[in-house]
C-alpha cells in the first residue's frame, strides 16, 4: 500500500492509510545507523558501553561524550543524534531536580523513565515539532526497593525495562551475544569485557571510522553512584577484547585448514 510514505511522511501528525506514522518510524531509523550502544543489567550493577566514533584524530578522546549523569543515582547513554540526545538529558536532569524538590527523595527509576517517555512521546504527536532522533538507555538505582534497573527509551516514546539491550549498527549481533550470557551471575567487571568484545566484533575496521570505547556504570563498587568507568579498567577490557578476537580469528583459520 503506501509503504513508501509517499506524502504521508512529512509530519508526525499524519497517519498513513494503513495506520502508520512514518515520521516516527524514520526517527527510529536515524538511531539504527549510529555507533553501537550496549547496556547490561548485571548481578551487581548496570554497565553502559558506547562505540564512540571519532570523526577526526584531532578530537580529544573525552569530547563528544555519549554518556551523561542525570542525578547521582541515575545516568544515560545515547544512540543516534547527540544533539537531540542532549535535549533529553537536559530534561532528565530537570525531572530529577524537580522530583527531589517536590518530594524530598531521589526520583525512582521507573518514574524517571516514564516522565522521559512522556516527554519524548510529546514530540511524536505535535505538528510543529519533530521526533527525537535519539534513543536513550537509562541506568538507575532505586534506593527504596534496593534494585538497579536498566531502561531503553526509543524515539517513539516507548520505554521498557530490560535485562540487556543494544542500540545502533551492531545491535543485532550484540543482542544475540547478550542472550548467551548468564545475567544473574555476571559481574560488572566481567560485563565491561564482554561489551568491549561485542563492540569490537561488530566494528568493521575497514569500513567504519575509528572509535573509542566509552563506559559508564552504576554498581555496588561505586556505591550506586553513576559515573565513568576508570580508564585503566576500560583499557583492560579493551585489551582483553582484542585478544579474544584474535584468538577467535585463529580458531576460524584452523577450522578452514581442517575443512580443506
Amino acid at each position: 500500500m503506501a509503504s513508501t510514505g509517499a506524502g504521508y511522511d512529512l509530519s508526525p501528525t499524519t497517519f498513513s492509510p494503513d495506520g502508520r506514522i512514518f515520521q516516527v518510524e524514520y526517527a527510529t531509523k536515524a538511531v539504527e545507523n549510529s555507533g553501537t550502544v550496549v547496556g547490561i543489567r548485571c548481578a551487581d550493577g548496570v554497565v553502559l558501553g558506547v562505540e564512540k566514533v571519532m570523526l577526526s584524530k584531532m578530537l580529544l578522546p573525552s569530547s563528544n561524550r555519549r554518556v551523561a549523569a542525570v542525578a547521582p543515582h541515575a545516568g544515560v547513554a545515547q544512540a543516534g543524534s547527540t544533539a537531540d540526545g542532549r535535549q533529553v538529558v537536559a530534561r532528565a536532569r530537570d525531572e530529577c531536580d524537580s522530583y527531589d524538590d517536590t518530594y524530598g527523595i531521589e526520583i525512582p527509576p521507573s518514574v524517571l523513565a516514564q516522565r522521559l517517555a512522556e516527554y519524548v512521546h510529546y514530540f511524536t504527536i505535535h505538528g510543529a515539532l519533530r521526533p527525537f532522533g535519539a534513543s536513550t538507555m537509562i541506568a538507575a538505582y532505586d534506593a527504596r526497593k534496593k534494585t538497579h534497573e536498566l531502561y531503553v527509551l526509543e524515539p517513539t516514546g516507548v520505554c521498557l525495562r530490560y535485562f540487556g539491550a543494544a542500540l545502533g549498527k551492531g545491535r543485532q549481533s550484540a543482542k544475540s551475544e547478550i542472550e548467551k550470557l548468564d545475567l544473574t551471575k555476571l559481574t560488572c567487571r566481567e560485563a565491561l569485557k564482554e561489551i568491549a568484545k561485542m563492540i569490537h566484533t561488530t566494528h568493521d575496521d575497514a569500513k567504519d571510522k575509528p572509535f573509542i570505547l566509552e563506559f559508564a556504570w552504576l554498581c555496588e563498587e561505586t556505591e550506586w553512584k553513576y559515573g565513568l568507568v576508570p580508564q585503566d579498567l576500560i583499557d583492560e577490557a579493551d585489551a582483553w577484547a582484542k585478544k579474544e578476537l584474535e584468538s577467535d580469528d585463529e580458531d576460524d583459520d584452523g577450522d578452514e585448514e581442517m575443512a580443506s
Binding site: 497517519f15 495506520g19 502508520r20 505538528g127 520505554c159 525495562r161 535485562f163 542472550e179
Partner: protein, 261 residues
C-alpha cells in the same frame, strides 16, 4: 498548547508544507465526501499496530478486562510490559493501540480522575471519565497541531450507583457503555463471539465473567494460551482493581479446558 503568549493572540500551528493533493488525507479537515480520513487512519492504527486483541465483559456484579501479553524481546523485563493500567483504586483501563500513545493516554486518565476527586470530593464515575476522555480525543480531531492518539481505551469499574460498567473510548471521541466489547486485531470476530452470549452476561459471577472473556480471546485467536501470554484485571464489588496472578489465570484456563473437553 497552541496559545502563543509572546504575541498575546492565539495562533494555530498548521504544518508548514506545500499544499499536497489529498490534503484532506493528511490533516484533520473534511474531505469533499464529508469524511475525516486522518481520524479513520488513527482508528485503523490503534486496531492493527500492536497486533493484540483485547476483550472486556460485564457480569452481574463484576467486570473483567483481558488482553494478550506479548513481550517483544527475551531481554525485556516482562514486568514492565503491560496494557492494563489502574486509574484509581477502583477503576482500571485496558489500552489497545500504539504503545507510547497508550501510555500517555493512561497517564491522562489518571490525571483527570485525580483532578475530579480533588475538585468534587468523590471518586470519578466511569461514565464521567469516559466522557471527559472522549471529549479530549475529539479535540485532537479538530486541531491541526496535535494528532489523534492511536489508543482505544476500555474503561471499567463497579460504579457506586450503577454497578459494573464498561466504556469504550476511541480516537474519534466516541464513548459508549457496553455489556461486552473488544478492540484490536480481531475485534469483529471477538464481538461476534460475545454477541452470541449477550443474554447470559447478567447471570455471570466473577469467575464466569473472567472465563467468558478468556474464552472469547481463545476462540478468535484459535490458540491455547499459557497464563503468561494473557493479562487480566478483575473489578468486583467493593474491592479494588485486582490484576489476576498467573496462578489465577491458570485456574481459569483449566476450567475452560475441562468444560471444552
Amino acid at each position: 498548547m497552541s496559545r502563543d503568549s509572546n504575541y498575546g493572540a492565539r495562533r494555530e500551528f498548521i504544518v508548514p508544507h506545500a499544499p499536497l493533493p489529498h490534503a484532506d488525507h493528511h490533516i484533520t479537515i473534511f474531505s469533499p465526501a464529508g469524511k475525516l480520513y486522518q481520524v479513520e487512519y488513527a482508528i485503523k492504527c490503534a486496531q492493527t499496530t500492536s497486533g493484540l486483541t483485547s476483550v472486556a465483559v460485564r457480569g452481574a456484579d463484576s467486570c473483567v478486562l483481558v488482553t494478550q501479553k506479548k513481550v517483544p524481546d527475551r531481554l525485556v523485563d516482562a514486568t514492565s510490559v503491560t496494557n492494563l493500567y489502574k486509574v484509581t483504586e477502583k477503576l482500571a483501563v485496558l489500552m489497545t493501540g500504539m504503545s507510547a500513545d497508550c501510555r500517555t493516554q493512561a497517564t491522562r486518565l489518571r490525571y483527570e480522575a485525580a483532578e475530579f476527586k480533588f475538585q468534587y470530593g468523590y471518586a470519578m464515575p466511569v461514565a464521567s471519565l469516559a466522557k471527559r476522555v472522549g471529549d479530549i480525543c475529539q479535540v485532537y480531531t479538530q486541531k491541526a497541531s496535535l494528532r489523534a492518539l492511536a489508543a482505544i481505551c476500555i474503561i471499567a469499574a463497579v460504579d457506586e450507583e450503577k454497578g459494573p460498567q464498561i466504556f469504550k473510548v476511541d480516537p474519534a471521541g466516541h464513548h459508549f457503555p457496553y455489556f461486552a466489547t473488544a478492540a484490536g486485531a480481531k475485534e469483529s470476530e471477538a464481538t461476534n463471539f460475545l454477541e452470541k452470549k449477550v443474554d447470559e452476561f447478567a447471570t455471570y459471577d466473577a469467575d464466569k465473567t473472567v472465563q467468558c472473556a478468556i474464552a472469547a480471546l481463545q476462540s478468535v485467536l484459535n490458540a491455547d494460551f499459557k497464563a503468561s501470554e494473557i493479562e487480566a484485571m478483575l473489578l468486583s464489588g467493593d474491592s479494588s482493581c485486582h490484576a489476576l496472578t498467573e496462578e489465577e489465570i491458570d485456574g481459569h484456563l483449566n476450567v475452560l479446558a475441562e468444560t471444552d473437553a
